[in-house]
């Protein structure tokens, strides 16, 4: 469990943030630039002292203004991946990697150099100097260096923000691999919801130095505060599920949602794999009668639980066999179909619209233990 309750005034900017998150997870601090995300993780790392408050990791109190506790950053055992990598320019890649490793207690070295080099694919770079690396390579080395210091928590401050789109796609899969293989809890700062979607298990939504919502990704994906930040077009329920079967012939994978199943593009998926689907609200079509003669493969029965109108459209919240979904439809459609809480509807999801919205799920923390 990571518990943060910090207060900091800096000029006119005021940060008052409190959240609790299960330790064995990837916690995303999500919010617009300048909302205090970096300030927050600097306080978790110990690089910045809160004016008052408390930071606790499991049973270790790292900061407590009332008790007068402030563990120095170098003794917190918290790794930090900075936006600008910050590799030491006078050392080679392998010397950079060893820097943290050499300073970690001998009896607590779970992650070894070979594992990191393999996981991050940095074998060919070891003898190079940081200035001979590309942006993506630098960031991979920085991630490796932080992990080799055997941290009990890894902080990542928008590690992909300084990279162009291609480099971002180069680094992201490595982060997914690390999450699956190393089981180091992470706090991931980002203002890109796609990164949150791919990596996070727990999300803290922030704005103006405050926490607007905190919870698991599926819950947060339905939360109104997110709508304001990423826009109604990008809103959609996130559903954790599993690949039931693969239809090789048609290149489709069946994924269950509630009691029903949807078909999605099977590229990169294997049977039995836990996956996470984002069903964008604007892509879900509602029908009040069982649809016939349509090309749409995915039809789910659901009950309307809430109808909420804004200036432009209506957001309909649905219960599809225990799974909450969101659909964004026009006001006239709601009136014509007489949609209201309790209405029975059919939800139509075009398989093609799910392309690019299916991701491997984070492993369940309790099922796998760190390997020795």
């Amino acid at each position: 469990m990571l518990e943060v309750d910090v207060h900091k005034q800096r000029g006119t900017f005021k940060l008052d943030l409190a959240f609790k998150a299960p330790q064995a997870s990837v916690i995303a601090l999500f919010g617009p630039s300048g909302c205090g995300k970096s300030t927050t993780i600097n306080m978790i790392a110990g690089l910045l002292a809160p004016d008052s408050g408390r930071v606790q990791m499991d049973d270790r109190v790292l900061f407590d203004s009332r008790a007068g506790i402030c563990v120095p950053a170098e003794r917190r055992r918290i790794g930090y991946v900075f936006q600008d990598a910050r590799l030491f320019p006078h050392l080679t890649v392998v010397q950079n990697l060893r820097y943290g490793l050499q300073r970690a207690p001998r009896d607590d070295r779970r992650i070894d150099l070979t594992t990191i080099i393999d996981l991050l694919g940095i074998g060919p770079l070891l003898q190079r100097r940081p200035q001979q690396l590309s942006g993506g390579e630098k960031q991979r080395v920085a991630i490796g260096r932080a992990l080799l210091s055997q941290p009990h928590l890894l902080l990542l401050d928008e590690p992909l923000a300084a990279l162009d789109l291609a480099r971002r796609d180069e680094v992201l899969p490595y982060l997914e691999r690390l999450r699956s293989f190393l089981h180091v809890p992470m706090v991931y700062v980002s203002h890109q919801f796609e990164e949150v979607l791919r990596l996070a298990t727990h999300v803290v939504v922030m704005d103006h130095g405050q926490s607007l919502a905190s919870g698991d990704l599926c819950t947060i994906s339905l939360h109104p505060s997110l709508r304001a930040l990423i826009g109604a077009e990008a809103i959609g329920a996130v559903v954790e599920s599993r690949v039931d079967s693969i239809d090789q012939q048609n290149g489709l994978a069946r994924v269950s949602i509630g009691h029903a199943e949807v078909q999605v593009d099977s590229t990169g998926l294997v049977s039995g794999q836990p996956v996470r689907l984002q069903l964008l609200a604007r892509d879900l079509i509602l029908a009040v009668e069982p649809p016939r003669g349509l090309s749409v493969r995915n039809v789910l029965g659901a009950v309307v639980t809430r109808v909420k109108a804004d200036q432009h459209a209506v957001l309909v919240e649905l219960d599809a066999g225990g799974v909450t979904l969101l659909s964004r439809v026009t006001l006239s459609a709601v009136q014509q179909l007489r949609l209201q809480a309790g209405s029975n509807v059919w939800v139509l999801v075009k398989a093609m619209t799910l392309r690019g919205h299916v991701f491997p799920s984070p492993p369940l923390p309790d099922l796998q233990q760190p390997s020795d």
Binding site: G46, L47, E74, G79, F88, H90
Partner: protein, 238 residues
């Protein structure tokens, strides 16, 4: 070694050259650790009176060297507060000695050295030290493994420049320790003595040429080191 160059120097000239080198070297060795500590305090530490200390360090640059020499004489003279203590406790005398010449030279070149180290220190991204912190490095560890290596070009450049400048320190040295052949008579002092002699022009010119060559070499070597180390540290502008 080509001995003809040395053979062409008279024993007095050779002595002056050796003395100059020895004084400059001692002055650099003595002031280097102090200058690194001073540069660090002036850049990274926050304390009251920092500006006053900063100004004090730079005083020898703007004071007439005679004044600096005179102040040293007042402090370190046999009857001065520090000079008397040194003589009584350690039996160390600075007036009229090579050690005294080295001290005067060190004080005069101190601001140069601090400036050069300070510029190097200011050029180091503080974020690198923060990164080292998160990797478990304590204050001294960070200084030794990150800050100091990254300061090396500045330290080397400062040391070599101070050394070159130290070869030619005149005013403070002659005021503090006098012009004693074999003890405090460095190149510029020997040159000055030669000018006082009838028919000393030829000697003076040779000593002047020697000083010129030494100074130029020092500056070139300093630049060379700064570039080489800069490349090592991956500066693109080096």
């Amino acid at each position: 070694m080509d001995t003809s160059v040395w053979l062409s120097l008279s024993s007095v000239e050779l002595q002056a050259l050796q003395l100059s080198l020895s004084v400059a070297l001692r002055s650099v060795l003595f002031s280097l650790p102090v200058a690194i500590a001073m540069a660090w305090s002036l850049t990274r530490a926050r304390f009251a009176g920092r500006m006053v200390l900063d100004a004090f360090v730079h005083l020898p640059l703007v004071l007439p060297p005679v004044v600096t020499g005179y102040l040293l004489l007042l402090l370190f003279g046999t009857r001065g507060p520090l000079g008397g203590w040194l003589a009584n406790t350690f039996d160390v005398r600075l007036v009229f000695t090579t050690a005294g010449a080295a001290l005067a030279t060190a004080v005069m070149s101190f601001p140069l050295m601090v400036r050069s180290i300070r510029i190097a220190l200011e050029g180091i991204d503080h974020g690198l030290e923060e990164a080292a912190r998160t990797l478990g490095a304590g204050a001294l560890d960070r200084f030794m493994t990150i800050t100091l290596p990254l300061m090396t070009p500045g330290i080397l450049a400062g040391a070599i420049t101070s050394f070159s400048a130290g070869l030619g320190e005149f005013g403070a040295v002659i005021t503090f320790v006098g012009n004693v052949p074999g003890e405090t008579q460095t190149l510029p002092l020997a040159l000055y003595a030669a000018l006082q002699m009838p028919n000393g022009d030829a000697i003076a010119l040779r000593l002047a040429t020697l000083s010129f060559a030494l100074g130029l070499t020092g500056l070139l070597v300093s630049e060379f080191f700064a570039r080489a180390v800069g490349r090592q540290l991956g500066r693109h502008d080096a």
